[in-house]
């Protein structure tokens, strides 16, 4: 795994991970009402003065949502790019509330797993400027 970083992303593996969660993902993408009720239930969103980057639905749609739309056909740069959204912008505290029952932290957890499977995860020893 350590030299995984140099290898190209295993898009087939990502696609099969996505496949397994298809029903849940569809629900997020098709039924999220963009009602922004979840926004105010996220303490990070509130703490960042309503920065949309911290809105629960935004975080999912712009990470997992994009992954799903691209059917896993992404490169390392893409995964590195969503790292901030799924790690820095969400602490998986489970506080957010979605009126149609979308489990946001679970989706973010799942996105993190996909990143991890390709060796993309935050560097706690100083490599990440936002930590």
């Amino acid at each position: 795994m350590p030299d995984q970083e140099k290898k190209p992303v295993d898009t087939a593996a990502i696609a099969s991970m996505l496949k397994k969660k298809e029903p849940e993902m569809k629900r997020v993408l098709n039924y999220c009402l963009r009602c922004s009720i979840c926004a105010e239930s996220c303490f990070l969103y509130m703490a960042h003065d309503g920065d949309p980057q911290y809105m629960p639905s935004y975080k999912v749609i712009n990470s997992l949502g994009k992954l799903y739309k691209k059917k896993g056909n992404v490169d390392r740069e893409f995964l590195e790019g969503i790292k901030g959204l799924v790690w820095r912008n969400c602490v998986l505290c489970h506080r957010c509330y979605c009126p149609i029952g979308i489990d946001i932290p679970r989706m973010i957890d799942f996105t993190r797993s996909i990143c991890r499977s390709e060796g993309v995860y935050p560097e706690q020893d100083g490599g990440e400027s936002w930590l």
Partner: protein
């Protein structure tokens, strides 16, 4: 945050020796942040174990996997799918996580790869300091935000003891400031010395039984 450190390799080696297939599970929470049990550390430990056991002609099949938090079953789904394929599980979470994993898979031996050391803060990258012993009856309001339970070697509540060195360091270590000297200085600067002039009576320790906590707003949900 919980701070942990990796156990000596020999100790971990002795735990897993004898198992053919082992899964090493990292934690994306505290032990990632304190650089003891995140994804990187899982990879390193696996490589170290393979090498060490290889030198003894023992072939170990060990895989790594990280879940975001081992202290909440909401994050276990992916692990549930894998756990059954292994003879033993190593956990690189704190003791909380190890126990939660062991409870989840009662048929499988689960071993701790870390020593859970304390609750502390990050002074800098890779440098942590203990600051709370989770005593259950926080006295920081009276002690100027400096914990005597953790930082006074004797855990005194009416300190300082007679052993404080002349320069204000603790009797047990000339490089450690006496907690009570620090408390005194801070309260004095804030004009709040009266806080520690009163006698603090013997406290009611919370160490009798396993503690559990339901926050006020959730009482109805769990207790009714």
């Amino acid at each position: 945050m919980i701070i942990a450190e990796r156990k000596p390799l020999d100790e971990i080696k002795d735990m897993v020796r004898g198992y053919k297939r082992v899964l090493n599970v990292g934690c994306g929470g505290c032990t990632s942040i304190c650089l003891a049990g995140g994804q990187k550390e899982v990879n390193t430990l696996n490589a170290d174990l393979k090498k060490a056991l290889g030198a003894e002609d023992v072939h170990l099949e060990i895989d790594g996997f990280v879940i975001e938090r081992q202290c909440n079953y909401d994050f276990f789904e992916a692990l549930d799918e894998k756990a059954g394929n292994y003879d033993a599980i190593l956990s690189m979470a704190c003791g909380v996580g190890v126990q939660f994993v062991a409870e989840r898979y009662p048929e499988t031996p689960v071993f701790p790869a870390l020593n859970t050391v304390f609750c502390g803060a990050d002074r800098d990258i890779g440098w942590f300091e203990e600051s709370c012993r989770t005593c259950g009856e926080c006295v920081l309001a009276e002690t100027g935000g400096i914990c005597p339970v953790t930082r006074c070697a004797k855990g005194l509540f009416n300190g300082p003891c007679g052993g404080t060195r002349l320069d204000g360091t603790c009797e047990v270590d000339k490089d450690t400031p006496c907690a009570w000297y620090e408390i005194y200085k801070r309260l004095k600067a804030q004009g709040r010395l009266e806080n520690i002039l009163k006698i603090k009576p013997p406290r009611q320790w919370e160490n009798q039984t396993r503690r559990s906590l339901v926050q006020e707003d959730y009482k109805q949900r769990y207790i009714g």
